[in-house]
């Protein structure tokens, strides 16, 4: 027997994801709906010994009248019988404390004629909120079966599974039947009609709840009002928000420093091992010089990305993020943004792609467009490895300023810089973009919840995994390509490197000779020729041709920078040393001065802070703005600005 197809649907914050995690455990995967990048989560669940279910977690939605891309997905899946995800049974998840609003979606789903189960989640709150439900009459009024569940305490899940197994016995008739009213003849617009229907659905829900639901008002809103008093206080609110941000960034740098160093040296060790134990040859070289450093360049991200996802998911899940949106809306509007732009701007510190997608929640098109255009200025985690390695080269680890770690402060300054430039460019865009739009803005202020450890853990694991594999594929491919380009070259300068060098430097000892040959070869390899070609353009920024190569490859994705240098510096060198040591020892060929001086370091930092170097971001901006116009403008403006600031900084500091 094939799996029962189950769709989970519900308003945001009803605990849909928690329930999904309970039902499926780690047996789930995140994909995309064809053509659009809305997360599609599918998992499997064993319902009993014989039967299992394929469960799909639809994006949270308030109604089936799609007003956003996310909501559209839910509508498409449920209303089209030929859709590959069309379910056998729908589970509508509602929050026991929010039945009135949550049931609105339920009555709409029920209209579709699919067997429907109502999962009343957060049942653990019943006692302390003084809630009482007459289950039997509610079931009959709503024409369904109800499962009282608590995803938090893992209660009621097996009963829900039983209901799913018996889905064929569920009713498929609508529970709300709209009287053919005289009114519908006199209202003309679609919107008015819809408005009236909404009113009547709410009347129906109200009548159901009056008969079946009671709550002791005494217990209602203690925690909410208590926390709100502090968290959105006119002074403390901001103070708390900025303290949280500051601590996150300090923590981020100091907590991930150790694992990152460890990963760096471990991968250097792996390369060494491969060389020591494998027979000499092309394959060993590819492994030790291309693949292993390439993978290392991805793995090194994991600590920082995971921490960022950890912090953002805790802020979201606890309900705190909505308060920040509320606090910041008016301020953000002064810059042409919305309070809701805070979420993209903060998520942008992990990765611009989900961040730009998060901008979908912004109702006003102009505010949304500006958010999309400026978000890539925020410091995404792909920039972190570049920042981390450059900062550690130009600032000593023990440096302290007022007892703060200077490396950490410098990183923080770069974050603020990205943020500041994002805000400033938003302000400019607001002035010059001529778009007439109305400023709709609605945000739910959810109940405060202690985030479930399991949810947070899954989010962190899933997102980190997705990121690492996505970025990993690109980085690995580029590392291999680079290695090939660096290991072969045209003409006899490359193939006769040994003879040429031996002739030119007859009195070098063997070790010096080998090093000289290796670097001569690299210079005349394909990659060397490419780097040399652009050297005149980047020399004024303080870069040599090797950095030039890294800059070129970084236009695929910034994180490739370190990997590229790792590959370039390790081609042909035998001894084990970390990439950082190799960078420190690099000198300009002509002047013999160290390449990674303070001036060049700052110039690289600025270039990476501002340039638009990420193919995936360009692709997502194209999708979200429906065309090439905005992503191209964005790319040229950002990269031009980057070049200019890097140039100025280097010329002043050198």
């Amino acid at each position: 027997m094939s799996d029962i197809k189950v769709a989970l649907i519900g308003n945001p914050n009803t605990g849909k994801t928690s329930l999904f995690n309970r039902l499926t455990g780690l047996n789930q995967k995140v994909g995309n709906y064809p053509g659009i990048t809305v997360d599609k989560k599918v998992g499997h669940s064993k319902l009993n010994k014989a039967i299992s279910a394929e469960i799909i977690d639809l994006p949270g939605t308030y109604s089936l009248n799609a007003s956003s891309l996310d909501e559209d997905v839910a509508v498409q899946v449920l209303s089209d019988k030929t859709n590959e995800n069309y379910p056998d049974v729908v589970v509508v998840v509602v929050d026991i404390e929010n039945l009135k609003r949550n049931l609105y979606l339920y009555t709409q789903v029920k209209d579709l004629g699919i067997p429907t189960i109502l999962a009343v989640n957060m049942a653990d709150q019943m006692k302390n909120r003084g809630i009482d439900i007459d289950m039997q009459s509610m079931e009959s009024l709503l024409e369904t079966k109800i499962a009282l569940v608590s995803s938090k305490q893992n209660k009621g899940i097996s009963f829900l599974k039983k209901l799913i197994v018996d889905y064929k016995s569920l009713s498929t008739v609508p529970c709300f039947i709209d009287e053919p009213s005289v009114l519908s003849k006199i209202v003309n617009t679609e919107k008015k009609k819809h408005h009236l229907e909404t009113v009547r659905r709410y009347q129906f829900i109200k009548s159901v709840l009056e008969k079946t639901y009671s709550q002791d008002p005494q217990n209602a809103k203690d925690l909410r009002s208590l926390l709100d008093r502090v968290l959105i206080h006119k002074y403390f609110g901001y103070l708390i928000f900025f303290t949280i941000l500051f601590s996150i960034f300090q923590a981020l740098f100091s907590w991930s420093a150790f694992p990152m160093d460890y990963i760096d040296s471990t991968f250097a060790g792996f390369s060494e091992m491969a060389r020591a134990h494998l027979p000499e040859g092309v394959f060993t070289n590819l492994l030790a010089e291309g693949i292993i450093p390439g993978i290392g360049g991805v793995v090194i991200f994991i600590p920082q990305i995971a921490f960022l996802f950890l912090f953002t998911s805790v802020l979201e899940e606890s309900g705190y993020m909505s308060r920040v949106v509320f606090l910041m809306d008016k301020i953000m509007r002064k810059f042409g943004l919305s309070g809701k732009s805070i979420v993209p701007l903060i998520s942008g510190t992990a990765c611009a792609i989900p961040a730009i997608m998060a901008a979908r929640n912004i109702e006003n098109w102009k505010e949304r467009l500006i958010t999309i255009l400026v978000t890539p200025f925020t410091t995404c985690s792909a920039r972190l490895p570049v920042y981390a390695i450059i900062i550690s080269l130009i600032v000593p680890a023990e440096a302290r300023f007022m007892s703060f770690n200077v490396q950490g402060l410098m990183l923080m300054a770069l974050y603020l810089l990205g943020f500041g430039v994002a805000i400033l460019s938003a302000m400019l865009l607001d002035k010059f973009l001529k778009l007439e739009t109305k400023s709709y803005f609605v945000i739910e202020m959810p109940n405060y919840k202690l985030p479930l450890f399991k949810n947070v853990a899954y989010t962190v694991i899933e997102k980190t995994k997705a990121f690492v594999f996505e970025a990993g594929k690109i980085i690995l491919a580029i590392s291999i390509l680079l290695w090939v380009l660096a290991s072969y070259g045209p003409g006899k300068d490359f193939s006769h490197a040994k003879e040429i060098v031996t002739q030119n430097y007859p009195d070098l000892n063997e070790e010096e000779l080998n090093a000289e040959i290796a670097s001569y070869k690299l210079e005349n390899s394909y990659i060397g020729i490419m780097g040399k070609t652009i050297e005149p353009v980047i020399r004024p920024l303080g870069y040599d041709w090797k950095i030039g190569v890294a800059v070129i490859t970084s236009f695929a994705a910034r994180e490739v920078f370190v990997g590229t240098l790792a590959t370039i510096y390790s081609v042909g060198s035998e001894e084990e040393s970390t990439i950082k040591d190799r960078m420190r020892n690099e000198v300009f060929q002509d002047s013999k001065k160290p390449v990674y001086s303070f001036a060049t370091g700052v110039s690289i930092l600025l270039f990476y802070a501002f340039a638009m170097q990420c193919m995936s971001t360009i692709a997502i901006v194209k999708r979200e703005t429906n065309g090439w116009k905005w992503p191209l403008i964005q790319m040229f403006v950002m990269s031009g600005f980057a070049y200019l600031t890097a140039l100025i900084a280097y010329q002043i500091l050198k």
């Binding site: 308030y62 109604s63 009248n65 007003s67 929010n98 009135k100 609003r101 609105y104 617009t189 919107k191 008015k192 819809h194 408005h195 909404t198 009113v199 709410y202 909410r224 009002s225 709100d228 959105i232 006119k234 609110g237 901001y238 909505s322 949106v325 509320f326 606090l327 809306d329 008016k330 301020i331 309070g339 109702e363 109305k438 400023s439 709709y440 803005f441 609605v442 945000i443 739910e444 202020m445 959810p446 109940n447």
Partner: protein, 76 residues
Amino acid sequence: MKGSTIASLQKGERAIIKSFEGIDVPLKLIEMGCIEGNYVEVLQRAPLKDPIYLNISGTYLAIRIEVASKIMVERL
């Protein structure tokens, strides 16, 4: 005299939603329960007076003054 709107309510005041001025009130808001006959309570205004944090018949949400001033209410 023009009637009161949500925007004119003080913190802590409760009122009943009466009607909408124009059709500029977003559908999403209506679907979240902002409909005629439901009660609304102003819980707080943001530090810069805007947006307004409301309890509409048990649903907690925030809207901007621009929209709030289009929703006519009767004080309780």
